[in-house]
């Protein structure tokens, strides 16, 4: 039996997913328009342009900004109230796997910023924080839902 997630989990993750989508959209626009579109310092350790134009900003020919946008385009429905209410276990497992993968990717990006590029992009850090918050909430809530200890039964369960 799949139980429902607490309301705060549904509300918070929905807002976080939308925030992540907003920031990743901004970073994608900046990628195509040019780094001058990024409202971010370009001196010292905080340097968005240095990060977003580095060789590490492209993976297998795909800009990381686009990967982030694609992730959050998928995350918004996965973290929507409708998805949280689903009684289909696969929806919750996919959400768990997706956010786990996203978190691992974020760790790689942080390592690249700190150890390879040598600069931090504030907007990217915003996405990283949102992803970590989604990860923390999801892995706290979803296992409880799946083992039936999360609270009320899911809709139609």
């Amino acid at each position: 039996m799949v139980t429902q997630a607490p309301r705060w989990v549904v509300a918070t993750t929905g807002i976080l997913a939308l925030a992540g989508l907003g920031i990743s959209t901004y970073l994608t626009i900046a990628h195509f328009v040019g780094t001058q579109a990024l409202a971010c310092s370009d001196n010292g350790a905080i340097n968005c342009a240095k990060v977003t134009t580095s060789p590490e900003s492209v993976i297998l020919g795909i800009p990381v900004a686009i990967l982030g946008l694609a992730f959050y385009l998928a995350a918004v429905p996965l973290f929507s109230p409708w998805a949280w209410r689903s009684r289909d276990r696969r929806v919750h497992i996919v959400r768990l796997v997706a956010i786990g993968t996203g978190m691992l990717f974020v760790l790689w990006l942080i390592a690249a910023e700190l150890l390879i590029i040598g600069a931090i992009c504030l907007w990217c850090t915003g996405v990283h924080i949102v992803t970590f918050a989604l990860f923390a909430i999801t892995i706290t809530a979803v296992p409880k839902m799946l083992d039936g200890s999360g609270g009320r039964p899911a809709e139609g369960a």
Binding site: G34, T35, Q36, S41, D42, N43, N47, A49, K50, T53, S54, G100, M103, L107, I110, A111, L114, L115, I116, I117, G118, F132, F135, A136, I139, T140, P143, K144, D147, S149
Partner: protein
Amino acid sequence: MAQQPNNKKKQASKDASRAVATTSKRTAPTKAQRRSTSSLLTWGAIALVVVVVAVLVIVKISGGSSTSGGGGGSSSPAPASIVRDVTTIPATVFDTVGITSPSVPVSKPTQIKGQPALTFTDPAGGAKPGVLYVGAEYCPYCAAQRWSVVAALSRFGTFANLGITQSSAKDVFPNTQTLSFYKATFTSPYLVFQGVEQSSNVSDPTTGYKKLQALTKAQAALINKYDTAKFLQGASPGSIPFLDIGNQFLSAGSSYSPSILSGLSRSDIASNLSDPTNPATQAIVATANYLSASICATTKQQPSAVCGSKGVTAAAKAMGL
């Protein structure tokens, strides 16, 4: 006696029930244990992420990062062919390009009013309109801007000892090929130019990049006053490259994106300066025309051959001068 087998069966049944009960008792704590294990895994995963990030930050702070500026060292004397190409751009190229740069936008210097005129003392002791450039060899925006500064100033005077260098390999627009003002001198009957390269492109663990030239007090005062958002919209204080033309025109950052120079050698950039259809040339020359028009405003439109030229007048008109 006849009941003994039944008693045995009952006893066996009781034993079986006890066994089931015992098993049930074992099941209950297992379920709780499972929740406990799940909770442990959850918090363990969160803690792991936090620890990994903390370790990365500590490694970075403790200097384990790759902070090399790369770039193949600091400047060296510029080959004569490159100096010739960039300092003797044909007037027809300046006039044909004008302020047109279809491939990459070019921004104008910012005109400021009501400020005391900037003058520097020439070697003979006379005061002349001053042009101050402050940059650094690692800086990719400086790399782009220098081509135009040299092209523009060469219409008013003569450079000696120009260097060649490239921007940092680890910065944005890595390895942008350029000239250097480090050790360069400029003589002109119209103005005095001061070019300051604050840092090389060679990394230094304490300062980021090895220091080259320090600002004089007067130069630092100009930076502190004018290289700010008060005079240059959106500029971070102390942004480089900074250009002050007679305290009448300012610019911070490059006037065009260094991306247009990506992948080009210095020889490519220099030799293309005679081709007004080349995209890099258009960006460099259009910027040079804007800078020339600004300089002309401080030199009382002298020399007239430059200040009255088609390219410079087009720039002056676009700047509202």
